[in-house]
Structure formats: structure tokens, C-alpha cells
């Protein structure tokens, strides 16, 4: 009985920031989540439910007998999104592309976190020359055009690996390492001066313990927001790589690659080969971004709008309220130090 009530209390406590966030933010975050979950569903069950696969160009009508799929057929009952020049079913490729995109996104972000977060922790905590070197290196990487960097890494990796999910994920993920590094490092810098860390040190705790137990959990709260925004960006980068012909090996279903193949179709008035992959990219990225921005709003308690929530005081003419209290979405980005503002401006660049 008590565990249930404590669980409920914990959930209520976790849910409280949601209730205090402004209504628009909550709506946005739910819409975003719905979209993302939809794609996860598509990726997971789509292949089972739909009869055509992404790289399938013919159907086995009888054992050993194959019939080619129609080429460039407009959307029909049989092929709701039409077919491509290579006789692939567009919807099948969307589903396949969803699987690939989510897999790469997950791996890329995980990779960036696994490297960026510990480096940021250690660098922020230890300081000194290691810190200075790492910061300069990370800043240099951060300043570099991410797409170009991804292209170069992808290019470089093809000398060693077969192009595939893993190499694509690595190429895409490297770009995000500096972000995690920076945010975690900044946060660590402020946390390490806190009394509880000092106390732990005074008690003789090993650095590993301090970092792992005390600092990490404190610092990790800034990560989820970047995570979702990076995930959104990862999809875009993967698609861009695919469009240019890097990334995974054709004819693997990849949305960006499909758009590049559809370039010539477009001028002949064939729209479905380019349209659907593009829509898939836009919607999934938008969904992820909405979740990320909504999370921002909710997680950072300083930035919820005071006075915007709650019923109006009955019968009173309300003050227009000269300043919009607090802010929403991107404010946590401000705190993260990844958005330059008047306050953080130059120093934090």
C-alpha cells in the first residue's frame, strides 16, 4: 500500500512541472510525442503489416515465378504512395526509411552522449590543462559546419568500413559530441563548487565516486533537452548525407537518398517519389523538435510563466502586464549556454 502511494506521490511530483507549464507548451509537447510515437510504431510494426518492402521490386506470384512491380505508378489502392523508377513501393520505402532513421538517430545520439558527457564531466571537474585543450578542440569542432564534418567522417570511414547503419551513425554522431561536452562541462563547473561536493571530497570520496554519484545526477538533467534536439538534427543530417550519396549503401531505403533519386521525376510532373520522403523527414523532425522544446519548458523551473496559468481573478479588470513573465521554449537553451544572448553572449561562445 505504501509503495503504491509513494509511487503515486513521486509521479505527481514529477508531473507537477507539466501542470505549471503554460498550456501552449503542453499542447506542443503532446503533439510532438504523438508524432514520434507514430513513427516508432511505423518502424516497429509497419514492416509486418504492410506487404511491400523497401527494396522489393518484384512479387513472387508463384514459386519461382516473379512479376515486376510497376514503374512510376501514381498512388493507387495497391500502392498508396505510388512506386519509383526502380519499381520500389514508396510506402514500403518510407517504412524502411523510418527504421533506418530511428536506428541511426538512436545510435548517433547515444554515441555522442557516451563520449561527450564523461569528457565534459572530467574536463569540468579537473580543470587545468586537460580542460583547456579539450575546450579548444571541442570549440573547433563545434564551429565547423556539421554537415561537412559528417560528410568527411563518412568519407573517411568508407576507407575502413562498409557503409552501413553503424558508420552512418558514427558520422552523424560525432557532430554532437561538442554540445554534450559543453553543456555538461558548464554544469559541472557550477556544481563542483557546491557544498555537497566539497563535503564528499572532505570525506575522502574518490573522484570517480564524486563524479559518478554526486555530480552526474545533478548534471544529467540538462541532457534530455539537447538529446531530443540532437535527435531531430540527426535525422536531417542523415537525410542530407543520403541525398548527397553518402551514408548507407543504396538501395537501402533512406529518405534523403530517395529524394535525390526523384530529382529527375519532378520535372516530368511525378511528385510522389519526392513528396512522401520529404514529408516523412519534416514530420518526424518537427515531432522531435516539439518534444525537445516542450521538455525545455517543463524541466527548467525558472522559466515557467508566472501568472499565465490559473484562472483569471473573477470580476477584475486585469492588468495588461507590461512584461511577459518568464519565457518558454528556448530559454533553457539560454541556460545551457548554447544560445548566445545579451547575458551569456560572447563569453560563452
Amino acid at each position: 500500500m505504501t509503495t503504491l502511494s509513494t509511487l503515486r506521490a513521486k509521479l505527481a511530483h514529477a508531473y507537477r512541472p507539466f501542470r505549471q507549464a503554460s498550456r501552449t507548451s503542453r499542447v506542443l509537447i503532446f503533439i510532438g510525442l504523438a508524432i514520434v510515437l507514430f513513427y516508432v510504431l511505423v518502424a516497429v510494426v509497419g514492416a509486418q503489416l504492410y506487404e511491400y518492402e523497401g527494396t522489393q521490386y518484384r512479387v513472387e506470384v508463384a514459386p519461382g515465378e516473379f512479376e515486376d512491380l510497376p514503374q512510376l505508378e501514381p498512388p493507387s489502392r495497391e500502392h498508396p504512395f505510388g512506386t519509383t523508377r526502380d519499381r520500389f513501393d514508396v510506402l514500403g520505402r518510407i517504412i524502411g526509411g523510418a527504421q533506418l532513421a530511428l536506428a541511426v538517430m538512436f545510435l548517433a545520439v547515444a554515441f555522442a552522449m557516451v563520449i561527450g558527457v564523461p569528457l565534459g564531466l572530467v574536463s569540468g571537474y579537473r580543470g587545468g590543462r586537460l580542460d583547456r585543450v579539450l575546450v579548444t578542440v571541442m570549440d573547433a569542432i563545434y564551429a565547423f559546419p556539421s554537415l561537412l564534418l559528417a560528410i568527411i567522417i563518412s568519407f573517411m570511414l568508407t576507407a575502413y568500413f562498409e557503409p552501413g547503419v553503424v558508420s552512418a551513425a558514427l558520422a552523424v554522431g560525432v557532430v554532437y559530441i561538442p554540445q554534450y561536452f559543453r553543456v555538461v562541462r558548464n554544469h559541472t563547473l557550477s556544481v563542483k563548487e557546491e557544498p555537497f561536493v566539497e563535503a564528499a571530497r572532505a570525506l575522502g570520496a574518490k573522484e570517480r565516486t564524486i563524479l559518478g554519484r554526486y555530480v552526474f545526477f545533478n548534471v544529467v538533467q540538462s541532457v534530455p533537452v539537447i538529446l531530443t534536439l540532437n535527435a531531430a538534427d540527426a535525422i536531417l543530417t542523415l537525410a542530407s548525407l543520403g541525398f548527397l550519396g553518402y551514408g548507407v549503401q543504396p538501395p537501402t531505403a533512406e529518405w534523403g537518398y530517395d529524394v535525390s533519386q526523384a530529382i529527375t521525376d519532378v520535372s516530368s510532373g511525378i511528385w510522389w517519389t519526392a513528396f512522401w520522403p520529404g514529408m516523412a523527414i519534416i514530420t518526424l523532425v518537427t515531432g522531435l523538435t516539439l518534444v525537445g522544446e516542450g521538455l525545455n519548458d517543463v524541466i527548467n523551473p525558472l522559466l515557467r510563466a508566472r501568472g499565465a496559468a490559473g484562472k483569471a481573478i473573477a470580476g477584475e479588470a486585469e492588468e495588461a502586464g507590461a512584461e511577459p513573465e518568464a519565457a518558454a521554449l528556448d530559454d533553457a537553451a539560454v541556460d545551457r549556454g548554447t544560445v548566445p544572448t545579451l547575458e551569456t553572449g560572447v563569453e560563452n561562445r
Partner: protein, 338 residues
């Protein structure tokens, strides 16, 4: 006193650029020279005999120890020698001179579009927080950034160039009216030669790719400007100004908006990197003969040397841009100078 602190700041800032450049160049070297292996073999190796390959390697200095190559590379990069491609007769420097102006014009045009869209929509969204305009503006910012540039470019091409025929589909200028190539910057060249037809066609060609790229970057701007606007709107000095009876319009403009703009320059600098990435995609879609298209071409033919040279150039440009931004900040924000 003000003068000397600014000067000191500038000197420090320039000095800090040096390690950044060195690190970037080292990274490029590691990634493109050390990691991938033999550039000759990768590109034309299939067509040449082993002796010819060895000859080429010797000519390009690829048999020297890595450190020597590194030294030569660094020295070259800092003096403007970016090496030679394997698959092209021109030196990389020449290739850059041929293609960079096109990319530069595209980038500047796009940046102007982005700033205008971003500042206007973002500032209004910040002021009218949580109104339909604000939500719409934010959604616009999010969705347009979510749209892949290449897809938008294709859509734009299809709609405005193929269907409506308002704009050309590709290229920088139409054949006959192309300006005389003096600097390579078509707008400049047209003005210098007073060739107004050339100017017209150049701008005409710039619109589609420039607006496409600019809108996407503008989407990012909208969010950043909005955040800054919100931040400054609730700033203490804004409340204090109101308490002094300063007119609301002036408070909004002079205290909130103007202050929100200060980081814009910094933001523009940060977007510069995204801009370059976007330029690569835009140039591919619109057959724009710029640096991005060149890189894509050389990567396609696996010409590491060329890629290395071009990327080196880009790295230096980035470091310079980063320096420029800090310099401008030094002029605009008095607090920075200390």
C-alpha cells in the same frame, strides 16, 4: 581609456584565433590525410601501373614521414597554398578562386533573408508571447528548419521555376547576360562594368536558392531572436525604465529589442557553419557552381587531396569569421572590452 581596452581586447582575440586555426588544421590533416590511406590509389590508382603510382606519390611528397608532410601542409595552409588535386589540373587554390565567390554570394544573400525573416518574426513573437502569432511564428521556425533544404529547394524549383516559370532552375546567370568575370563576384562585376542586364540576371538567379537557404536559416533565427526578446523583455532594466515613465514603445524598442539584437551578430556567426552545410545541399539542387558543389564532386571521385585543400580553406574561413564576430561584438557591447 575606452580606446585602449578595445585595442587590448582585439589583440587578445586575434591571438586566440591562432590556436583555433592550428587545431582545426591538425584535425583536417588527421581526418583526411592520415586516416583514409593512399590518395593516389583511391582516385586514379586503378588506371595506373604500380610504377606510375609510385611516381605520383613521390611527386606529391607522400613518401615523406608523416611529420614532414604535416609541417609542409601547415606551412602551405597558412601561406595560401592548399595543394593540388589528383583529378584536376588546377591547383586547389585556383579551384577555390573559381568557385568560392559563387558560394559567398549565395551565402550573403541567404543570410540577409534569414536575418530579416528571423528578426521580424522573432521579435514580434517575443513581444506577443503565447498569442496565435507567437505560436505560429514558433511553429514556422520549427517546421521550416525540419524541412530538408534539398527538398525545399526541389519544391521551390518545381513550383516557381518549372510550373510558374518565374525564376530560372539552375545556374548563376543566363548565358548571354552573364557578367564579365573580374572578381568572380557577379554582383560586384556587374556593378563595376555597369552591366545592368548582368546584375538583373544574377539577382534573378540568386532568388530561388538564396531564399530557400535563407528561409531555413531564418527558421533558426526566429527562435533565437525570440528567446533574446523574451529575455530582454523581462529584464530588470526594462521594468526600471517603465517605472520611470518611459513610453512603452520606446521601452520595447530601445531597451528590449535593441538589446536583444546584440547577440544577433554572434548568432549570425554560429549560423555561418550551418549556412555552409546548407550551401552544399543548395548548390547541388540548383546546379550552383560553388565550393559546395566542388567538394561534392571531388568526394565523388575520391580525390582526397582536393577535398583536403578545400576543407582547409573552409577551416581558415571559419576561424576568421569567428574572429570577426568577436571584433564586432567588441564594438557593439561595451562590457566585452574589459
Amino acid at each position: 581609456m575606452k580606446g585602449s581596452s578595445l585595442r587590448r581586447y582585439l589583440l587578445v582575440r586575434v591571438a586566440l584565433t591562432v590556436p583555433m586555426v592550428l587545431i582545426l588544421l591538425t584535425l583536417v590533416f588527421l581526418l583526411l590525410r592520415v586516416a583514409p590511406g593512399d590518395p593516389i590509389k583511391a582516385t586514379v590508382g586503378a588506371r595506373l601501373s604500380p610504377e606510375q603510382i609510385a611516381e605520383r606519390r613521390e611527386a606529391l611528397g607522400l613518401n615523406d614521414p608523416i611529420l614532414v608532410q604535416y609541417g609542409r601542409y601547415m606551412a602551405g595552409a597558412l601561406t595560401g597554398d592548399f595543394g593540388d588535386p589528383v583529378t584536376d589540373r588546377r591547383s586547389v587554390g585556383q579551384i577555390i578562386a573559381d568557385t568560392a565567390p559563387a558560394t559567398f554570394e549565395l551565402a550573403v544573400f541567404a543570410m540577409v533573408v534569414a536575418v530579416i525573416v528571423g528578426v521580424v518574426v522573432g521579435a514580434l513573437a517575443g513581444r506577443l508571447r503565447d498569442t496565435p502569432f507567437d505560436v505560429g511564428g514558433r511553429l514556422f521556425g520549427i517546421v521550416i528548419y525540419a524541412a530538408p533544404i534539398f527538398w525545399l529547394g526541389l519544391l521551390a524549383q518545381l513550383t516557381f521555376a518549372v510550373n510558374l516559370r518565374w525564376f530560372p532552375t539552375a545556374g548563376r546567370a543566363s548565358g548571354f547576360d552573364a557578367p564579365e568575370e573580374i572578381t568572380g563576384f557577379y554582383i560586384l562585376d556587374s556593378i563595376i562594368t555597369r552591366d545592368w542586364a548582368a546584375l538583373a540576371t544574377t539577382l534573378h538567379h540568386l532568388v530561388l536558392p538564396g531564399v530557400t537557404l535563407g528561409l531555413v536559416i531564418g527558421g533558426v533565427f526566429v527562435r533565437l531572436v525570440r528567446v533574446n526578446m523574451l529575455q530582454t523583455l523581462r529584464a530588470d532594466y526594462v521594468e526600471a525604465a517603465r517605472a520611470r515613465g518611459v513610453a512603452e514603445g520606446r521601452v520595447l524598442f530601445r531597451h528590449a529589442f535593441k538589446n536583444a539584437l546584440v547577440p544577433i551578430v554572434t548568432i549570425m556567426g554560429l549560423q555561418f557553419a550551418i549556412l555552409l552545410g546548407g550551401a552544399i545541399l543548395t548548390e547541388t539542387v540548383f546546379s550552383w557552381p560553388g565550393l559546395g558543389a566542388a567538394i561534392v564532386g571531388f568526394i565523388g571521385s575520391r580525390d582526397y587531396s582536393a577535398v583536403q585543400g578545400i576543407v582547409t580553406f573552409i577551416a581558415i574561413v571559419i576561424a576568421v569569421v569567428s574572429l570577426l564576430i568577436d571584433v564586432i561584438n567588441g564594438f557593439v557591447d561595451p562590457r566585452v572590452r574589459y
